[in-house]
């Protein structure tokens, strides 16, 4: 898991704009931030996916985007996901969701290597998502 992952240099990762400093592990976030983060389906998927698939070497952004495109589309096998179908989740992840999850110290992102790593917080947040689903979400279809 994250403990084994190389500490990614994330300082210049997502442009030069101001980045919120710190994250859940280091300072002042509260429950509100967690509820906001998990309110988005792609972020929930991403958190669970990375926790499930990161054995220490991280997961690739390509694989994650392909998995999301597969889940969101009607194609019958993951091999048939086209690069065009993969592109939309890829851009959304890259521009919106990964920066948010990284700022919250839920994921570590190594942009150059295109790798994403789970932190300890990722596992806890994945469990929180499961708990909310178990208690509040009905069977769907």
């Amino acid at each position: 898991m994250a403990a084994d992952a190389p500490a990614a240099d994330t300082s210049e990762m997502f442009g030069d704009g101001p980045r919120p400093s710190g994250g859940f592990l280091s300072r002042g976030a509260d429950a509100s931030d967690v509820y906001e983060l998990v309110s988005n389906e792609r972020r929930r998927f991403t958190i669970k996916y990375v926790v499930e698939h990161d054995d220490g070497d991280g997961v690739t952004l390509d694989d994650l985007a392909t998995a999301i495109a597969f889940v969101e589309s009607d194609v019958e096998s993951i091999e048939k996901v086209s690069s065009k179908q993969r592109k939309r989740p890829y851009i959304g992840l890259y521009q919106v969701h990964l920066p948010k999850l990284e700022n919250a110290a839920i994921l570590e992102v190594d942009k150059r290597a295109n790798h994403i790593y789970a932190t300890d917080a990722a596992e806890t947040v994945a469990e929180i998502i499961d708990e909310i689903e178990d208690r509040l979400v009905g069977d769907e279809r």
Partner: protein, 133 residues
């Protein structure tokens, strides 16, 4: 009423928290807004009776401002009332998360409200303990 009390007593005895069957996106969307979370907590606290929407707005405004209801400025009260009236209450009622009678303006906690409130309480605690270290 009696049935409800019996159910509640049974729930306390077996310690099984109430559950709900919401749509997935709805469940997370309801939790994602602070004002909606306050509505849920407030209604569950008053779950023996219906509340006029004006009263609910006072409780929510007081909690948001960290003051007593009596100390609320009329503007603080009204701002929250309008957002509950126009946005949150119809939405939460439509999603089945709270009870609401648009004719007399009463709102109340349902079993779903109770399930959401119980989940919030436990998850809040867990976040405090394990995430925001």
């Amino acid at each position: 009423m009696i049935d409800e009390l019996v159910d509640r007593a049974r729930g306390l005895l077996t310690r099984s928290p109430p559950t709900a069957s919401l749509n997935r996106d709805v469940a997370f969307e309801v939790l994602a807004n602070k004002r909606r979370r306050l509505v849920i907590r407030t209604l569950v606290k008053h779950d023996e009776s219906e509340l006029p929407l004006t009263r609910l707005a006072e409780h929510v405004a007081a909690a948001e401002n960290g003051i007593e209801r009596d100390d609320l400025a009329s503007e603080e009260r009204k701002r929250v009332y309008v957002s509950l009236y126009q946005t949150h209450v119809p939405k939460m009622d439509g999603l089945g998360v709270i009870g609401h009678d648009g004719d007399d303006g009463q709102v109340w906690a349902t079993e779903t409200t109770a399930a959401v409130a119980a989940t919030l309480e436990d998850v809040d605690e867990r976040i405090e303990r394990e995430v925001v270290a």
